[in-house]
Symmetry: D2
Subunit: 143 residues, 4 copies
Amino acid sequence: MSGADGSLPGTAVVLRVRYAETDQMGVGYHGAFLPWLEVARTAWLREHALPYRDLEAAGVHLPVVELSCRYRRPVRYDDELRIEAEARPWGRSGIRFRYRVTRPADGTLTATAETRHATIRRDGSVRRLPAAVRHGLGKTGAG
Amino acid sequence: MSGADGSLPGTAVVLRVRYAETDQMGVGYHGAFLPWLEVARTAWLREHALPYRDLEAAGVHLPVVELSCRYRRPVRYDDELRIEAEARPWGRSGIRFRYRVTRPADGTLTATAETRHATIRRDGSVRRLPAAVRHGLGKTGAG
Amino acid sequence: MSGADGSLPGTAVVLRVRYAETDQMGVGYHGAFLPWLEVARTAWLREHALPYRDLEAAGVHLPVVELSCRYRRPVRYDDELRIEAEARPWGRSGIRFRYRVTRPADGTLTATAETRHATIRRDGSVRRLPAAVRHGLGKTGAG
Amino acid sequence: MSGADGSLPGTAVVLRVRYAETDQMGVGYHGAFLPWLEVARTAWLREHALPYRDLEAAGVHLPVVELSCRYRRPVRYDDELRIEAEARPWGRSGIRFRYRVTRPADGTLTATAETRHATIRRDGSVRRLPAAVRHGLGKTGAG
């Protein structure tokens, strides 16, 4: 489902690497990528379904249960990064996001990642994905 | 109320600077100190009053409303740091913590800080400090 | 030097509170504000002087040596925040930034802060502010 | 190579979940686990080879190039967690760490993870694992 240039259909956000996110190797700390993925995921939900804050207000939580990330090239302080996210259903009630992190200035693919999310109520019990999210998944041709 | 060596009466914790907490200047990021202060504050409450998790479970929250920090010497990855905290009442229902961050290996004072906390209920309304905390403040001669 | 509405002359950035930046009280963690101030400071330098990455590449570092922050209202996940920063000379070779953090949606002033920065070389020795920064400070009427 | 109880041979550290590491779902943020893995990895290197700060001082860097994590149970603020790490060679010059995160209070396995690291020089070029690390890997029966 990727475009000819490998880009993901879905949502993209652009952000800059903060100084706080660097480490003493002079690059973006590998753990800093997780909040970046989250920013793209939040944008996907806002765009294709509804804001995650509204989901949570309705008692729906999508915690990360599996995470994988492959770091390909280092990123630097103040680099402008583009985070693309696309979503698919995962199992009976979950959702899976895939991500590409690129640096538009030189076209470098810096990381790829995937997160898998359960759909739970505040008390931790499993529930179905809300209709709005299922509808959003359908729209991206991922049904 | 400081000892002859400037140390604070109260509680001390020891921790190491994590790689995640460094920045590209090769030192501990200035924002990393705030969680360290929190670790010492948590230890003070556990030791002199009751665990903060129990306070929160009882509907008492102590959010930071004022913060000041003076950075004196840089700290490095893997440095062992000692964080001392002492507490005093602040106004009618608040609490004030003062901190000293030292590096025991060479005796360097790396930072001093202060945080002031309101005492609120979950809904944000102001309430008195719980008796257990007031009692703990009294024990440190800070009444 | 504030405008009639209290806004600071200088630079403003807009960002959203990340889920990673919340804590279990359901609000933005107080330590999360420091990277936000840094984003505004970075923007000020880029706009009025030169990118901080270029300053560092030229061997000039502006570490935070004093920090104060007053938290006035809680901020929530996904809130859009506006961070304003203005800069002044501080002493013979330092620079001081003041900040206002507001939530444009309801006009709330959520925090005010100040950071003071020494100007040092990579080896830690003190040096003058670079001409480009002094020039930028002059342009804001802060000489 | 696991013990009868599933524990990993190697190194274990114990730490508490910081308030800063929680999120508004009331649990430890999934991204907070990465610094915890790092603490265990740092301890493994100190115990079986040599401190990572010494490795870096000698021009050897072990950046994370692949990461996977499976979150099994939520962790809470102030929970005491035990992070076990073991290491194996990975390919011709890399190293792979596996981790188990447990909560000793109730014996819960909260997460398992793996990181793979390249061995590079400061300039990014690939090099062999230093002899001290290879020796440490051998001692854990992982040769």
